[in-house]
Symmetry: C2
Subunit: 316 residues, 2 copies
Amino acid sequence: MILALAGGVGGARLAQGLVQVLEPGQLAIVVNVGDDFEHLGLHVSPDLDTVMYTLGGVHNPDTGWGRAGETWNFLATLGRIGGDTWFRLGDNDLAVHLERTRRLRAGEPLSRITADFCRGFGIAHAVMPATDDRLRTFVDTDAGELAFQEYFVRQRCEPVVRGFRFEGAQGARACAPLAALAAAGAPHIDGIVLCPSNPWLSVAPLLAVRELAALVDAPSIPVVAVSPIVGGDAIKGPAAKIMRELGHPVDVSGVVAHYGRRVDGWVVDERDRGFAAAIEAAGQRVAVTDTMMTGPARAAALARTALALLDALRTG
Amino acid sequence: MILALAGGVGGARLAQGLVQVLEPGQLAIVVNVGDDFEHLGLHVSPDLDTVMYTLGGVHNPDTGWGRAGETWNFLATLGRIGGDTWFRLGDNDLAVHLERTRRLRAGEPLSRITADFCRGFGIAHAVMPATDDRLRTFVDTDAGELAFQEYFVRQRCEPVVRGFRFEGAQGARACAPLAALAAAGAPHIDGIVLCPSNPWLSVAPLLAVRELAALVDAPSIPVVAVSPIVGGDAIKGPAAKIMRELGHPVDVSGVVAHYGRRVDGWVVDERDRGFAAAIEAAGQRVAVTDTMMTGPARAAALARTALALLDALRTG
């Protein structure tokens, strides 16, 4: 059993690779919920949906969020009657938010709702939120502390970042299926893959769930990270900007230092081959490959590289 | 000032005629909310929306509900993830339900929300719910008591009707703008038009609001009804079926008997000319005209006939 820890786009792409390589019983994709928020009375789970749409083959590859061939009539009418249109909710997409909200209000856990929805999209592999409890990312910026979507969508990541707070993390327990995996423990978990998602915005709120952090920190479970930084920049999103603002070097060394001893092996891009020696000198394994997941086949190749590195770590 | 009491389709069509004939300050359209219900966590107001879409010129004239050129992607995805799709919610339509629900939850009255939405659809005349309080129509049938939409949409009006109950009617007060009109009283209200809506399903729950019934019953305010029954059948909807099931004659005499002394003047279709003498003999005025509102011009002509009859009643 492999656990993959995923945020939005980068996580969804590597997940798309992993599902091609691993059988349904061999993979659990654990997704960030720190970006979740309430909008227009709806519970929106952006990363869960990006992973679900991507694995379901209905995602919009151009935007990195939402559905392919989406329509926007809901939003057009909402604007006409004076509603709040800053967060783009497509007509198809909206059904997921509305039905999720209805079921959450009826007392069902997010993990069960997610499993049902994924089945509806024909996804055979397990996809789950890190926690069914409320966990919310807040960004401390030079414009004050902002709720995640306020920072990310409304203010387009423009404020300068000083730090993060994961509200609810103290009390957040792993969702039931993840807790079951954690209880089975190390002998049943062959490795963990940290997907190339934003280490601060996507992976940190995952690791804020104590049981998940404990699995990552378990000495017997190898952990491989795929670098989200390639050639000194992020493929997508504000990771590079955030690293700069936090005073980290904006390159592979910055993310390697950030994860530190939590990661046993690194998959870095060919452009970052120069960092391999330093990482190995610090006692971590490195695989160098083309990490650009421009399509499902490339994602599968990257997944194979990450899994091979996990194998190598396991067998010493 | 003229009050028009309206349900869905028939009411909306006559309202479309009245707005062509009367200035905005001369007309208030008071709409049934007995059909309102909660669906998928949304507050749906079918009659208010039918009136609003019709007056806004965005209605679907073929179905009698919903928007012209509507898309159904929300519902398609909802079905895919196992949601409840028996009630057809279009993508444009959904925005109205969602934003209404959000504002109701925030404590705003339905009448204010309705006024704002109508402004968004470019409607200059006042449209308001009979009440901002909860008032719900239940239908007593041979299949037990059914919530209105359960009877109307889900069971397609198939159960045999025995009676009606308007839950909340005892405590329901007129919405604020209607209460203000009622407080101004008879001198400021020149007449009331009962639109050709279903007398049992649409007009009865309007008259279940005490202040509205009091206005209709005020001797100094003339009341004209446009018959919803033409040639022994309803133009649309289950009125004829319900009349049969309740043991009323399924013709103009059935609705005339139903409203009784509440109505001072009747507008009946040319096909029902034969009933005019009996109605006049019972002391009510009658105007005979073509009541088929096949388009806005025909609706305006019918509105003029109804208003002329009100005029005639007022001047004796």
